[in-house]
């Protein structure tokens, strides 16, 4: 055994992992080589010195938190085990309430818009208003068609229909000559 091998094997001897045969070889080399004998003593001494000098104490708060958790776990293992699942369930329930509430409210908002539009459309379709606002009979027809379309759009929004072409067809097919001017719409209503 040479000195380099001794220096590594003596570490295994110190950890108790060297077999008996190698221990005897180690001992034989140790008796012959003072340098390796010193190395063996000092390497073991370094371990002892750091073991005695380094250990620290954790903070009191950390120890208290560990003890609290240990006690909780011992007291109610089932709840402790399922706590993450309980939290997840609570979050899912809250989300359901929020989404469900929005879903319930949204149609009412749509229904309110339909009622408002009904007022506007009613005024727009009023013959006197149409006659007042339209220069020609064609314009009057277009105004009525526009009012009907608007009403249809609002109703469809509530029902969930998304076919824009279906909504716009009546207007497109008659190729209205309606001017896109605010003059075509009633100034006041209600």
């Amino acid at each position: 055994m040479n000195c380099e091998e001794f220096e590594k094997r003596v570490l295994l001897e110190q950890s108790g992992e060297l077999d008996e045969k190698d221990c005897l070889l180690l001992q034989a080399h140790r008796e012959q080589c003072s340098r390796c004998r010193t190395y063996g003593e000092e390497s073991g001494g370094m371990l002892e010195m750091t073991r005695a000098s380094l250990p620290g104490e954790p903070g009191v708060d950390a120890l208290d938190r560990i003890r609290t958790m240990a006690a909780d776990r011992a007291r109610s293992p089932v709840l402790f085990f399922y706590r993450p699942a309980v939290r997840a369930l609570a979050c899912a329930a809250a989300l359901l309430v929020v989404v469900g509430g929005w879903w319930l409210i949204a149609p009412r908002a749509g229904a309110a818009r339909v009622r408002d539009m009904n007022v506007i459309v009613t005024v727009m379709m009023d013959e006197d208003t149409i006659a007042e606002r339209s220069d020609t009979a064609a314009e009057a027809t277009d105004l009525q068609a526009l009012a009907e379309m608007l009403l249809r759009i609002e109703e469809s929004a509530v029902e969930g229909t998304t076919d824009q072409e279906e909504l716009l067809w009546p207007l497109d097919s008659r190729a209205p000559r309606w001017r896109s001017s605010s003059e075509a719409l009633p100034r006041r209503y209600g």
Partner: protein, 183 residues
């Protein structure tokens, strides 16, 4: 652990009492200071509590160190994504070291100063060598277990320890004589 699994909280307290100083000493030297060390120490025991059923009867100390090792690595990687224990940069930071209480203040101060110097020398080791040395000195783990935790061969673990001891013999030559003189 089996007794704790049956609801005996005192059993866990016994384990904590037995291992806390050595485990904390190991963690303190491998982290950024007492705050970090407290958090890692706490998390180690939290995991022991949560996963006590997965512990197979055997080396509880090795299991503790493995948990601590993984937490230390994870923590270091959060700060530095390419962190590896195989880095060889030296670390000049001093770690505050605590020593066993001593009724004589003069001796306590001398012991604390000695501890500080030893901690500084250990901190100067490369991370992977420091970890091997601390697993041996603080937790008295065999090299076979150390190699498994670090996921290297026994020869690699031995080489790291050999290097660490060689460096510390040079850095702590005076301290070693002083420690021997104190008995």
């Amino acid at each position: 652990m089996q007794r704790y699994g049956r609801g005996d909280v005192a059993a866990l307290e016994t384990l904590m009492e037995r291992y806390r100083r050595w485990l904390y000493g190991f963690i303190l030297q491998m982290t950024e200071g007492r705050g970090d060390a407290d958090e890692v120490f706490q998390e180690v025991w939290f995991r022991v509590i949560r996963k006590h059923k997965s512990f197979r009867a055997g080396n509880f100390r090795g299991w503790l160190v493995r948990i601590a090792h993984n937490l230390i690595i994870d923590r270091a990687r959060k700060r530095k994504p390419d962190f590896s224990l195989d880095e060889t940069e030296d670390n000049d930071r001093d770690a505050p070291a605590m020593t066993a209480p001593d009724p004589e203040p003069g001796k306590r101060l001398a012991a604390q100063e000695l501890g500080d110097r030893i901690a500084a020398a250990v901190r100067a080791l490369a991370p992977e060598q420091r970890e091997v040395f601390l697993m041996r000195s603080q937790m008295d783990l065999p090299f076979k277990k150390i190699a498994k935790i670090q996921r290297v061969s026994i020869n690699t673990a031995l080489a790291r320890m050999h290097y660490a001891v060689g460096k510390l013999r040079v850095l702590l030559a005076d301290e070693y004589r002083e420690w021997q003189a104190c008995g």
